[in-house]
């Protein structure tokens, strides 16, 4: 169980900066979560997550420079305990690639308003929250 007083430190990686800001806004309402940075490509995501010692990276798949799958692999190699939750509208094959690269779970962007916060809370051990899914 995650200590109640310590918020989960989240990095958001999405090349659509407007969307990433809205997701940050969405997470802002949950005291269990703290957005510590927004990355606009996979390379930035790896650097930010490692430098800021994030607990979790919310990772889009299709991003410039290096995509979310390669970035997930790099994050997991550098920080094996760090969680990577895919937040994407990509097709199931790409989701599976992300899982193979070490992604912990997946939330479809279409369902992010309802599903994202519960999925993140599940990762930090909140008992009533549903697990991240892969629909």
């Amino acid at each position: 169980m995650w200590p109640e007083s310590t918020p989960l430190r989240v990095v958001i990686a999405d090349d659509d900066e407007r969307y990433a800001e809205l997701i940050a806004d969405l997470l802002h309402g949950s005291p269990e979560l703290e957005v510590i940075g927004i990355a606009k490509d996979g390379e930035e995501a790896v650097q930010l997550a490692c430098w800021q010692d994030a607990d979790i990276v919310l990772m889009d798949i299709d991003m410039p420079r290096i995509d979310g799958i390669v970035a997930t692999r790099l994050v997991r190699e550098a920080r094996p305990r760090m969680c990577v939750l895919m937040l994407t509208g990509a097709d199931p094959d790409r989701i599976q690639e992300a899982r193979d690269a070490g992604a912990t779970g997946y939330v479809n962007k279409l369902h992010a308003p309802a599903d994202l916060v519960p999925a993140l809370l599940a990762l930090c051990g909140a008992p009533a929250a549903p697990a991240a899914h892969a629909d």
Partner: protein, 335 residues
């Protein structure tokens, strides 16, 4: 046919003329492979005609081909039925050709062989197969393009709108003053999503073309082109939908190619219909040098035109501009 012993053949003049007029090479072969008579199109022989009669298949043909021919002869004689064999051979005129040989027994010790040159037919079949494969690949690529555009464009914007609405709901409880700004932002995203969908649909099939025909649709292309375009001529009447669509995409691709590669200062477009066919000509005054064999865009156009029973010609001498000229029949059953 030419007899082995030089004596008059038993066929009369009419029979001989009939045989000689056939487009295939005719052979009479003994069971041991000796050529007894030849007739028909002797340009397909591997050796000059005068050297053939009296020689054997193994003396005249490469070993592997002679073996296959004689195997076919034996099979025909043993079973008393038609047997066939195919091979590629260089003729005595120096051309590499593909042949289909049909061998039928003509007595206990000899066969008649009809040697048909199938080079052009086979090439046409290969061209057709490759063209179909390219059309399928182009369709797949187009579907991927549409999927990619939807995913990256409209879908992402609608996802953002959904997120906006979720935040609006929350702000109504916590900070209503921020709601108008969020709604404005959602409205902007929604407008952009609609524009992107409209643009995507226009790329699939231009509605202007379906509704109002070639002239306004081509004028629209000209207005959006990256270099000056003059629509010199368009048909007054409506054409079959497949012809209109092919014409539109041909002009669109030609204009895109001209903008990318030609360094032209202007392009002219002429489309004329004479009742049973449409002629499309797109000419630029650029650098020329376009190669239809290497450009996938031009090859795709050639496939589209060929699928409608038409033809595409490209004239593009270096320094003399590029002219695409296509002819499309109106009565093709594929339309």
């Amino acid at each position: 046919m030419t007899a082995m012993d030089g004596l008059p053949t038993p066929v009369d003049a009419r029979h001989k003329a009939l045989l000689d007029a056939l487009p295939d090479l005719l052979l009479r072969l003994r069971a041991d492979g000796t050529y007894l008579e030849i007739g028909g199109d002797t340009s397909k022989l591997a050796n000059p005609p005068a050297e053939v009669v009296g020689s054997t298949a193994h003396e005249l043909l490469p070993d592997d081909i002679a073996d296959r021919l004689m195997s076919c002869v034996r099979s025909s004689l043993e079973q008393g039925t038609l047997a066939t064999v195919e091979y590629t051979l260089r003729t005595h005129l120096g051309e590499e050709r593909e042949f289909e040989v049909r061998v039928a027994p003509a007595g206990p010790d000899e066969v008649v062989a009809v040697v048909r040159d199938v080079t052009d037919l086979r090439q046409a079949m290969r061209d057709l197969t490759e063209s179909r494969a390219r059309i399928v690949a182009a369709g797949d690529a187009e579907r991927r393009r549409v999927e990619r555009n939807l995913h990256d464009g409209a879908q992402q914007r609608l996802v953002t709108v959904a997120l906006h609405l979720h935040l609006v709901k929350r702000r109504l409880e916590t900070d209503p003053a921020e709601v108008p700004q969020l709604v404005d932002s959602a409205q902007t995203e929604l407008t952009l999503a609609l524009e992107e969908i409209r643009e995507l649909v226009r790329g699939l099939h231009p509605r202007l073309l379906s509704d109002r025909g070639l002239e306004p649709a081509l004028s629209g292309l000209a207005e959006r082109a990256l270099l000056p375009v003059e629509i010199v001529e368009t048909p007054a009447e409506r054409l079959p939908p497949a012809v209109e669509a092919a014409t539109y995409y041909l002009v669109a691709e030609a204009l895109a190619n001209a903008a990318k590669h030609s360094q032209a200062s202007r392009v002219t477009v002429r489309v004329s219909a004479n009742g049973d066919r449409t002629t499309i000509e797109v000419a630029d005054d650029g650098v020329g040098g376009a190669d239809p064999e290497t450009g996938s865009g031009l090859r795709g156009l050639a496939d589209r035109v060929a699928a409608l029973g038409g033809g595409l010609a490209v004239a593009s001498e270096p320094g003399r501009g590029t002219t695409l000229r296509a002819e499309l029949p109106h009565d093709n059953p594929n339309q």
